[in-house]
């Protein structure tokens, strides 16, 4: 947002606005004079200078009150959005290319039981100290101590992650690990654990005598709030008040040369509505991700571009396997034949293109790019069941499971009506809209179904985790990850699958090579574990096997894949077009300025 119209943006005292308001009262003249002096000094003191850069601040929104925000990532409360510019991620991942690029970690090598990471040259903390291998060790260890996924691949955290020299870190793994999986775990990490701030926790956790002592240290870490962060990203923290967090460019960052604006602002906007209005009225310059319905999209100015970024994730129905009906595969499959995923996606998308109905319910993501048919299921896709709406097949399945339709309602062997209610988090309005469509379709077919939308935290914190649902709503994949391992791990080995849905360990499935053959017993959880070590053709075979098991047993019913909306503006900024592969990142607002693809237009 340019300095000239900052009054509107930062919630700041807009001279123009104030003069307009007060003009009629006759005191405008005096104020204009006063404001004029202030504006003049602002311009003089801004970052203009002789370097050709313009006096602009890139403006985004943040959820929490800036002065209440804190920057300890292991304290899950109010870890505010400016984190995206304050710290660098380990690597950059382009979703379209499915490629990892170096960033804070400039080089990496993997062998069968270890990984070596090298810190980027010239990267320094905002207090001037160089970023070292010790900081990376701290980051990896604290992530593991607090439950990070990599901990399952090392034996002893204290011993497994070591500094080899000032710039190199080694991780000793306890098994061979697929490179794609290891990179996916490493890439999104932000390098935050500066030794002078977090080193003490790492040392104490390493040296803790037992689990209890270590837990105490970690609890202490998780309750510590840091309000004055020292980052290593291209912008450093200046201050935060009730309305705005201000960051200024860190000239010593290796990518500072790609950035031609001196400031960034994060404005306090606690609701979606405020963020929509801010984009419509040019008060923010973009948004990493935000769901905006069609009626609001229409109001956006022409220079605001909406890109779509696949989340490799989306709304699914999860089943409570303790329910006697849902424990039967015939019932789950019958539901899949009753539900029209196209209309669910349409209603849940609220007129946007952000929801795609799942074509192959198989646990695989990437339908938007054709990756499922062209890559993961190449040659076998036709074998897979698409579960297109087919009441006759649903009827056949339910009858084979001992249900009968009487008076328009399906009843079980004891004559009780088949009732399958759906519980939903009320705050997830797009999901609720989709679920309403589902209950209506089930009811029309004769399966009694009601929607119970609960307060969002009650749903997630109680109903879902205490398995007080019959059918629940949950993402059916591991979001932000494109490699299928993560999705199958979520469906068969995760806390959600084991503790909340109670997915059985074994399923009876015919072989993929002979779909009409004799069913055999399979343990998908074990197959997923094997997949961690596989690569190449062997991995592809295992992925197809797991996709087949998912397709035939439906531990969850995937309904749609989500494309996240991302917002960029081109009135004051040079940004890539919305359909460019350059924006296929989590998230463009964070990466494009770093790579020189989001620059201020010269004034």
């Amino acid at each position: 947002m340019t300095k000239d119209d900052q009054g509107g943006t930062a919630g700041g005292l807009s001279r123009r606005g104030l003069v307009k308001v007060l003009g009629a009262t006759g005191i405008a003249g005096a104020l204009a004079g006063c404001g004029g002096r202030r504006a003049a000094s602002d311009n003089g003191g801004g970052g203009g200078g002789g370097d050709g850069s313009t006096d602009t601040a890139l403006t985004f929104a943040q959820w929490a009150v800036p002065q209440d925000s804190q920057y300890n990532p292991w304290n899950s409360k109010n870890f505010a959005e400016p984190r995206r510019m304050l710290w660098d991620r380990f690597m950059r991942y382009n979703i379209a290319e499915q490629k990892f690029y170096p960033y804070a970690i400039s080089d990496w090598t993997f062998d069968d039981d270890s990984a070596t990471l090298t810190v980027r040259d010239g990267l320094s903390w905002h207090d001037g100290t160089p970023v070292s291998a010790t900081d990376v060790v701290n980051q990896l260890k604290l992530d593991m101590y607090t439950g990070g996924s990599l901990q399952q691949y090392v034996d002893d955290i204290a011993e497994a992650v070591t500094k080899r020299d000032e710039k190199t870190v080694e991780i000793a793994l306890n098994q061979k690990l697929n490179e794609q999986i290891l990179l996916s775990y490493l890439q999104p990490k932000r390098l935050i654990a500066k030794d002078s701030v977090y080193g003490e926790y790492v040392k104490r956790a390493d040296e803790a005598g037992g689990e209890e002592a270590r837990s105490k240290v970690i609890s202490e870490l998780q309750t510590t709030a840091i309000t004055d962060p020292v980052g290593n990203g291209p912008f450093k923290f200046e201050d935060a008040d009730s309305q705005r967090t201000l960051l200024t460019k860190y000239e010593d960052h290796p990518d500072a040369g790609n950035i031609n604006f001196p400031k960034m602002e994060y404005l306090y906007m606690p609701t979606n509505q405020k963020r929509w209005n801010a984009l419509i009225n040019d008060r923010t310059d973009g948004s990493a991700t935000l769901f905006m319905p069609a009626n609001k999209l229409k109001q956006l100015p022409e220079h605001t571009h909406v890109g779509l970024i696949p989340r490799h994730w989306g709304l699914g129905l999860v089943f409570n396997f303790r329910n006697e009906h849902l424990a039967k595969p015939e019932v789950r499959k019958a539901l899949a034949y009753v539900i029209d995923r196209k209309s669910v996606a349409k209603n849940s998308g609220a007129g946007t293109d952000s929801k795609l109905p799942v074509k192959y319910p198989s646990g695989l993501t990437g339908q938007f790019s054709g990756a499922i048919e062209d890559r993961w299921l190449k040659g076998v896709a036709d074998t897979f069941e698409k579960y297109q709406p087919d009441p006759a097949k649903a009827t056949e399945l339910l009858e084979s499971a001992g249900y009968a339709k009487e008076g328009g309602t399906w009843k079980d062997g004891s004559g009780a009506a088949l009732q399958l209610d759906i519980s939903a988090p009320a705050g997830f309005t797009d999901w609720v809209a989709g679920a309403k469509t589902v209950t209506s379709q089930l009811s029309s077919f004769g399966i009694k179904s009601q929607l119970n939308a609960q307060d969002t935290s009650t749903y997630w914190g109680k109903v879902y985790t205490n398995h007080e649902f019959t059918i629940g709503l949950q993402g059916w994949a591991d979001y932000d990850n494109s490699y299928p391992y993560f999705h199958f791990d979520f469906l068969f080995n995760s806390t959600d699958a084991n503790d909340y849905w109670k997915v059985p360990e074994r399923f009876e499935v015919p072989p993929l090579s002979d779909p009409s053959g004799e069913p055999r017993s399979v343990t998908p959880g074990e197959l997923v574990t094997t997949l961690t070590e596989s690569s190449g053709e062997a991995a592809l075979k295992q992925i197809q096997e797991l996709a087949w098991i998912t397709n035939q047993t439906l531990p969850v019913l995937p309904l749609q894949e989500k494309l996240a909306q991302t917002f960029l503006t081109s009135d004051d900024w040079n940004v890539p077009p919305a359909d460019s592969e350059k924006i296929q990142l989590y998230w463009p607002t964070e990466w494009l300025p770093r790579t020189g693809d989001w620059t201020a237009k010269q004034g």
Binding site: L18, S76, K77, D241, K274, N281, S457, W460, G461, Y464
Partner: protein
């Protein structure tokens, strides 16, 4: 004196009753702070096991929600009596540190709004009474009725949509511009007024009509009194009659209403501050309800309860001084 004691006792009992009721009611909300945190952790993903989630919840919720309710209640009342309002579960800071800095901003909004609406209402009402039956009176009565009938949050939403976003005349959130230095300087004061303008104005627009209609009614009643005819016959100047005879007597019955409003406006701040993203007590109360942050909720409820009680208490005790005819509550005469 016994009246003062009795009245003080009533006020203390009222606050105590509100605290006790709120204590029970907030715990009847479905879910608790642990559920909220659990929900946050599950939505963040990251593959935490149930054990790890439980460990983190235990570390981050400092309230002993497992203890029997009566034990928690007795502990809480005991702490409040020692002016310890507990520690926020979400911010992990004393409740006073969370709500204390927010309180002056809410008081500023509410006091300014009340002052402006009262002044406008009283002045308008007096004029309407003097011009009773005129076109001005009819028009102003209609405007006042409309003003009194529209809830302030509807006006607030309209203001923010049009004056904030559409015409870009006012800021749409915050207490003051981030660019001005905080302190006793003109820029800061103007910025605070500028940011408070829409919230204050929405309260004023929604309430001045009520004051105006009351003032009009009171003034018309006073204008019909015999002593006014006597005053006119004595040849007193009209200005003196208007201000000393009519104005004073008409305004007196509104004194109690004004003081009670001070308390009730704190309740209104909850919605107002949310609409205008204005971090005051109401904002933190809404956040605390979402997060099931019991201590902060209790603290905010207590502020509202104490403000209403003090308003009524002061009105009761001082009315006798403002209007000597009432001579205080001891005479059991009400006005």
């Amino acid at each position: 004196m016994s009246y003062l004691l009795r009245r003080t006792g009533q006020a203390v009992f009222t606050v105590f009753a509100v605290v006790s009721l709120s204590f029970g009611i907030v715990r009847l909300l479905p879910g608790g702070p642990a559920d909220y945190l659990r929900a946050q952790l599950i939505q963040q993903g990251g593959g935490l096991t149930q054990e790890q989630i439980n460990q983190r919840i235990a570390a981050q919720t400092n309230i002993a929600t497992d203890e029997p309710l009566y034990v928690q209640y007795v502990d809480y009342v005991w702490d409040v009596l020692h002016l310890d309002f507990g520690t926020s579960i979400w911010y992990n800071e004393p409740v006073t540190a969370v709500l204390g800095p927010a309180l002056p901003w809410t008081v500023f909004l509410m006091a300014s709004a009340l002052f402006v609406q009262f002044v406008i209402g009283v002045s308008l009402g007096a004029f309407m009474a003097y011009r009773e039956g005129s076109r001005f009176d009819t028009g102003a009565t209609a405007v006042s009725l409309v003003s009194n009938s529209i809830p302030f949050y509807v006006i607030g939403l309209l203001f923010i949509a049009f004056l904030g976003y559409r015409f870009d005349l006012f800021p749409t959130g915050g207490r003051y511009a981030s660019s001005v230095p905080v302190g006793p300087n003109l820029d800061f004061v103007l910025s605070v007024l500028y940011h408070g303008a829409l919230p204050i104005l929405s309260l004023v627009v929604a309430s001045f009509g009520g004051w105006a209609l009351t003032m009009r009614g009171n003034s018309i009643r006073v204008l019909g009194e015999d002593y006014l005819r006597v005053a006119r016959l004595r040849g007193l100047p009209e200005r003196r009659i208007a201000l000393r005879y009519v104005g004073r007597n008409a305004i007196l019955p509104m004194y109690t209403g004004l003081l009670i409003s001070i308390g009730f406006m704190f309740g209104g701040s909850v919605i107002l501050e949310q609409i205008f993203a204005y971090p005051g007590v109401g904002y933190y109360l809404i956040q605390a309800i979402g997060q099931r942050d019991y201590p902060v909720m209790m603290g905010a409820f207590m502020i509202i309860a104490v403000a209403v009680t003090i308003g009524v208490f002061v009105a009761d005790l001082t009315y006798g001084y403002v209007d000597p005819r009432a001579k205080g509550g001891e005479n059991s005469e009400s006005y």
